[in-house]
């Protein structure tokens, strides 16, 4: 189906179904119940799931396939946002030209930075990308204020030209008249689900981008990228120049990031320089690694996981904890709350950092590998797993030491 083999096709179908039914799936608890705070099915958060999913999928094409760890990817997200807001300012609030321009700008910016950074590999590449992203951040804050509006952030003002804005078109971001904010709430017994136009735009985009990434992973081009990660020297010896391939991967992932930035601006027409800061670049690295770098689904999972924690986990405060443990004796209750409190609410970054360390130490393949391991335990009962090769990526063997 669609040029995918059965396994990829079923994965793709699952993702499509999950993405389209997310408003149901993410609201499993009745609206009035005490567990309602775990519901993630509100438009803002769902949009973020999809947008950061796109961002992480793109990052994974670079890092997961070629192994080049970029610490400056947020720069492309940032310029994407700026490009989109400029389109709102100059043309009109239709998100289509905005998103298209943000992809182009993200790609061009990635071409420029990638062309220079990819002359080096390993840690030097990481530091070069980091340096470029920090430079963009510093410039966006200071000198480029006429373009970026500095600390205030770029936004649309009433005296902006908006040459294509017609009188009856909505004055908030829309797609041919359907505003991104329009939300249909459906109550179903005690449950309430909200269907948001913006979310579906993002979700469809994410599905398309996910499909593209499957095709890239399975293409000869994807194989080349894997070859770069596995053994660049050997690739050189076979007469292939890895540079064009890595540059292409870098630009593609830059375009993904630009798209994500454009969509962020489309959901909320505001772009600030802090989106380019290196902590934001670190976040997408966290997402990809946490989910599983080099896997198809991993980055999306990781993005969803981190955004869920950021929005839901951080809302748990002391009172909520006390409610949960109210059934315990008083002393024990207070004790548990004191122990747990630093890890939730404002301290959720601590949990995130710990979790990230645990994943890097014990599960280098991320959540995906964790899932596979659990799956293997269950399958073991049915049949003995075949002996797995110790070196799945065929690293060169050290030559035997003969004196």
């Amino acid at each position: 189906m669609l040029g995918l083999n059965t396994r990829d096709a079923s994965l793709f179908v699952i993702v499509v179904i999950l993405a389209l039914t997310a408003p149901f799936l993410l609201n499993p608890f009745p609206a009035e119940s005490s567990l309602a705070q775990f519901n993630a099915g509100y438009p803002d958060l769902m949009q973020r799931f999809a947008i950061y999913g796109i961002f992480a999928i793109g990052f994974n094409i670079l890092f997961g396939l070629t192994g080049y760890l970029s610490f400056g990817h947020a720069a492309f997200l940032g310029v994407g946002s700026y490009a989109a807001v400029w389109m709102f300012k100059l043309l009109n609030y239709n998100i289509l030209p905005a998103v298209i321009l943000s992809v182009i700008v993200g790609g061009l910016f990635a071409l420029l930075i990638g062309y220079i950074s990819l002359r080096r590999s390993g840690i030097y590449f990481s530091i070069l990308t980091l340096a470029f992203a920090q430079m963009s951040f510093a410039l966006a804050y200071s000198v480029l204020t006429p373009i970026t509006n500095g600390e205030t952030g770029l936004q649309v003002y009433t005296d902006d030209p908006q040459y294509l804005q017609s009188a009856d078109a909505p004055s908030i971001p829309h797609l041919f008249g359907v505003t991104m904010r329009s939300t249909q709430d459906i109550d179903f017994g005690a449950w309430s689900f909200s269907f948001n136009a913006g979310y579906y735009v993002c979700a469809v985009m994410m599905i398309v981008m996910f499909y593209l990434s499957i095709r890239i992973f399975r293409s000869p081009f994807g194989m080349m990228l894997r070859a770069i990660k596995t053994n660049q020297t050997r690739m050189n010896y076979t007469g292939l120049n890895p540079r064009p391939y890595t540059l292409a991967a870098f630009v593609i992932s830059g375009m993904y990031a630009g798209l994500a930035g454009g969509l962020l601006a489309a959901m909320d027409p505001l772009a600030g320089a802090e989106r380019m800061q290196w902590t934001a670049s670190g976040e997408v690295v966290l997402m990809t690694i946490l989910g599983g770098a080099g896997t198809l689904l991993g980055p999306v999972l990781g993005a969803g996981f981190i955004k869920y924690f950021e929005n839901i986990f951080s809302k748990i405060n002391e009172n909520v904890l006390h409610q949960w443990f109210a059934f315990l004796p008083d002393g024990l209750e207070d004790f548990l709350v004191t122990i747990l409190y630093p890890f939730v609410g404002k301290g959720w970054h601590l949990t995130l950092g710990l979790l990230f360390m645990l994943v890097v130490i014990f599960l280098p393949g991320g959540l995906m590998e964790g899932g596979q391991r659990i799956g293997r335990i269950f399958r073991k009962r049915e049949k003995k797993p075949e002996v797995r090769a110790k070196d799945p990526e065929h690293h060169p063997k050290p030559s035997p030491h003969v004196a």
Partner: protein
């Protein structure tokens, strides 16, 4: 002329901090081959050692002083720090006043221990893994350390003043024959520079003139051969990690009066220090120190009004710009050895 001297002086204190952190980073990279993204966090822990000591020293007893009344006529509550009770008024107060320099004594064992524990508990398991994994796990560790510090000390910068004796500024210009007030320089920054110079000198002397240092240098050059000679090089490298942590920590302790410490100061310095290491040359100790001071001074020159009006925004990006140029034209850095991490 005086304008040039004042910019050089201004660059020295930041340059000292860069040089100290970069020195530690290079020590770790040169010995263990590990890229430590948590080094900024060690700098920050050092700074918070000073904060902790200040808090401990100002622990107070509350007594009710019947002789003094507030405006409602109630007796006034007077807080007296324990040290004042124990050592008397003048001695006690000067101990509190000197809390930042005293924190050095606290910071050395604490940082050595933290470095040791970090290497044995975590870094040890990452020698054989790719650099990307090392970056990632230390990045995670940096987040964790940062959040723990935030948990205990809050998110706001905590002022930790230098001793009163060093509060003023030195009229440096007069010494060189310029007009008074042409070049004035805060005492504490001068001390910071001197302190950094002493630490850097001590580290180099330790490596150069002791047997232990000789073995470490041999291990940096050829780890396997040293191991074959029957020397447990891992143990010495662990000690070097502790020393690198202590250097970063001391840099942090002494930096507190210049910039009130907050929980993310480490990250801010880390990014720049990495750039410094790369410019100086991966694995080259003199390169790290040289590049630290050079970039610090360069940064201060770039923030003069002349520079910012000629090239707007240059003060923000000059360090990164230098790093990009160096990496592209001379990837082994200013003083890097040929063939070490050049690709």
């Amino acid at each position: 002329m005086d304008a040039i001297i004042i910019q050089i002086l201004n660059g020295l204190d930041k340059g000292s901090a860069y040089a100290l952190i970069a020195l530690g980073l290079t020590l770790i990279f040169g010995t263990l081959g590990v890229v430590n993204f948590a080094h900024g966090a060690l700098f920050m822990i050092g700074a918070f050692c000073a904060v902790t000591l200040q808090r401990i020293l100002t622990l107070s007893t509350v007594t009710i002083d019947e002789t003094q009344k507030d405006f409602l006529g109630n007796p006034l509550k007077v807080e007296t720090p324990y040290v004042v009770n124990w050592f008397g008024d003048s001695a006690g107060n000067s101990i509190i006043d000197w809390s930042v320099p005293l924190a050095i004594i606290l910071a050395i064992p604490v940082m050595l221990f933290i470095g040791y524990a970090m290497e044995r508990g975590l870094i040890k398991h990452f020698y054989k893994r790719p650099h990307a994994d090392q970056i990632l796990v230390t990045f995670g560790l940096a987040i964790v350390i940062q959040e723990i510090v935030k948990l205990f000390f809050g998110a706001n910068p905590i002022p930790t003043p230098a001793p009163d004796m060093f509060a003023g500024s030195l009229d440096f210009g007069v010494m060189l024959g310029f007009d008074p007030n042409a070049i004035i320089y805060p005492y504490w920054r001068l001390i910071y520079f001197a302190f950094a110079a002493i630490i850097i000198g001590a580290v180099f002397a330790f490596l150069q003139f002791t047997t232990f240092g000789m073995v470490v240098r041999a291990g940096m050059a050829d780890r396997e051969t040293v191991g074959l000679l029957g020397i447990d090089i891992d143990k010495r490298f662990t000690v070097m990690f502790g020393i690198a942590a202590a250097v970063a920590g001391l840099a942090g302790v002494m930096y507190t009066p210049i910039n009130p410490p907050n929980y993310h100061m480490g990250m801010d310095f880390l990014v720049l220090s990495f750039v410094v290491v790369v410019v100086g040359g991966m694995g080259s100790l003199p390169g790290a120190v040289l590049a630290g001071f050079l970039l610090g001074i360069l940064e201060s020159f770039a923030s003069t009004t002349w520079a910012t009006t000629t090239v707007p925004g240059i003060n923000q990006i000059v360090i990164y710009l230098v790093a990009i140029i160096v990496l592209l034209t001379r990837p082994r850095g200013l003083m890097g050895r040929k063939g070490v991490m050049e690709d």
